[in-house]
């Protein structure tokens, strides 16, 4: 059943504009796929269709043999598809620790508890601590997220989605806004992800893409222009003209 996420004929219209045109692809288990394309190509829209934030006009989404296309967003996360937000979306008034506690409590099916303390499960507290350690943000644990630097918030954004322990992880420009001195933390974190996890990385930073992806999909105007290994994509003249720009030719 480990055939991963299979997407077939996915379409989405906003009014008259087609932002997803018959997208068909497979994210096999353990793959590291990058989705690149110019601004407004429909990358975030595609990710939102996969996680259920948006409803497709037509098309199928199948995870390990189960059709998850009809599930709502929360159920789809539970089924195993989760994404980070391109624009940081966190609980700003809560501390980093509390932020991370929420997805873990939810994953463990404990958020309906009303008579136990939220911080009363040692296994969860230990997991929060490991997540903080992995991203090297232990020192921020008890600070409200709203008061952190943007780069630090990006790390929390990543940690929050990792805490869901998805089968398919979608990273929407994980390094956008992160100072270059800290972006290696994100690259390292991506490299350390469990090998059986399927990862889809939306990213403009080509260096990051080449470092982590074994396959690249180029999206232009809502349609897949090409799909291939990093070497194939770099060699493609159409991609160079359309995406990498004159400077890279």
């Amino acid at each position: 059943m480990g055939d991963g996420l299979v997407i077939a004929g996915l379409c989405k219209n906003f009014g008259g504009i087609q932002v997803a045109q018959d997208l068909t692809l497979t994210l096999s288990q353990g793959s590291r796929t990058a989705l690149i394309g110019p601004n407004g190509a429909g990358k975030t829209t595609f990710a939102s269709l996969l996680t259920g934030i948006l409803k497709p006009t037509s098309g199928k989404i199948v995870l390990n043999g189960h059709d998850i296309g009809s599930l709502n967003e929360a159920a789809r996360v539970k089924a195993g598809v989760a994404k980070t937000f391109q624009i940081t979306n966190l609980f700003r008034d809560l501390t980093v620790r509390e932020n991370l506690r929420l997805p873990i409590l939810e994953r463990e099916g404990r958020t309906h508890h009303t008579f136990r303390r939220a911080d009363g499960w040692p296994d969860i507290e230990a997991e929060i601590f490991r997540l903080l350690q992995d991203l090297d943000i232990q020192s921020l644990a008890d600070r409200p997220v709203g008061g952190l630097a943007y780069g630090q918030q990006r790390l929390v954004e990543l940690a929050l989605t990792l805490a869901v322990k998805p089968k398919v992880l979608i990273l929407d420009e994980p390094a956008a806004g992160v100072p270059s001195t800290e972006s290696h933390l994100i690259v390292e974190a991506i490299k350390r992800l469990p090998p059986d996890l399927s990862v889809l990385i939306i990213e403009h930073d080509m260096q990051l893409v080449f470092e982590v992806a074994d396959r690249i999909i180029v999206l232009v105007n809502g349609a897949i222009l090409m799909e291939g290994t990093p070497a194939e994509v770099v060699a493609n003249t159409q991609v160079r003209e359309l995406y990498l720009g004159a400077g890279h030719v």
Partner: protein
């Protein structure tokens, strides 16, 4: 070599229990002082306590989960009618009255919440107002049950726990209401500290993020609405029991609006805020209305403006603000 996993310092048990009990302890101390200082104003003090219960329940919705409604009177009113009808027709036991009222408030919250929590913003406000209006109209039309515009009168309540008769000065009524408030505060403190409470604050912070981590946001909202509705029903029942009257004005729009004003004045999201806001509003109302019965709203309006512009987190944030200014100086 691996480092031992350091776990964060755990707050001590005593500390945690104190935190849960503190608002109730404050209320009890305040109530004892008030009881001794104003022995002839017990009915007014009891009204304050009942209003505190109502505002605390509203804090669960607006303060914790960030859902603004203008229809909290719906559940309060249903609780009041339920307690009144129960006492007139079935049993005069006060605690059974509270229980029935909690069920009534919770049921109304559940039925209306299923619809109104699917909406947001202005639509949600309007539906919550509409629900209350419909209930008021039903209460005024169903004369055979509710007494119509005349309401229910002559409600008598049996002794509390079979021991304490309600006296005409209102001592038992006051103590009874204070105890109910104290219990509800403990319940709310536990709720706020629970995973469910944390999830409510998460929904307030970002509902879209909550969905993205797998939380059934709508279901959680309905749950908190039902809990708050049940507590509001209890407040309504207390009012019916201690005054012996229920009229259709329990569904007045102004009650829902006052509840919101009291919470904003004190500070939404903090139980102390609900308590302080209610106390201030009721006392100012009482004093200002006895000086000038027509213009007391002016004073409340002025206070509200001051709070919204100077202390957006309400009066509870005042000490913190002052210390910060002090340190900077």
């Amino acid at each position: 070599m691996t480092m031992p996993v350091l776990s964060p310092p755990k707050p001590s048990r005593v500390h945690a229990v104190l935190g849960v009990l503190m608002p109730s302890v404050c209320v009890l101390i305040g109530a004892i002082l008030a009881f001794l200082m104003f022995p002839y104003d017990l009915s007014f003090l009891t009204r304050i306590v009942i209003m505190m219960i109502l505002v605390v329940s509203f804090d669960l919705i607006l303060g914790q989960a960030g859902i603004a409604t203008l229809g909290h009177a719906a559940m309060y009113g249903c609780g009041a009618y339920m307690a009144g009808l129960l006492a007139l027709n079935v049993t005069q036991d006060p605690l059974l009255g509270l229980l029935a009222a909690a069920l009534a408030g919770g049921l109304v919250a559940w039925l209306s919440g299923l619809v109104l929590l699917r909406t947001h913003g202005v639509a949600l406000l309007m539906i919550s107002i509409a629900v209350t209006m419909v209930l008021q109209e039903v209460a005024s039309q169903a004369r055979w049950l509710t007494g119509g515009a005349d309401g229910l009168a002559g409600i008598t309540i049996g002794p509390l726990l079979g021991l304490f008769e309600f006296d005409f000065i209102g001592q038992v009524a006051f103590i009874y209401s204070v105890c109910v408030l104290a219990v509800i505060l403990v319940f709310c403190q536990i709720l706020i500290r629970s995973p469910f409470g944390l999830a409510l604050r998460g929904i307030d912070g970002s509902a879209s993020r909550m969905r993205a981590i797998g939380t059934p946001v709508y279901r959680r909202k309905v749950t908190v609405y039902v809990i708050a509705g049940a507590i509001a029903g209890i407040a309504g029942a207390l009012a019916a029991q201690v005054t012996g009257l229920v009229g259709i004005e329990v569904f007045n729009f102004s009650l829902s609006a006052d509840v919101m004003v009291m919470l904003i004045l004190g500070g939404a999201g903090r139980l102390y805020g609900a308590l302080i806001g209610t106390l201030l509003f009721m006392v100012v109302h009482h004093v200002a209305a006895s000086i000038d019965p027509f213009n007391w709203l002016f004073v409340i309006g002025l206070m509200l403006l001051l709070v919204v512009f100077v202390l957006p987190k309400g009066l509870v944030s005042l000490p913190g603000r002052v210390t910060r200014l002090w340190r900077r100086a």
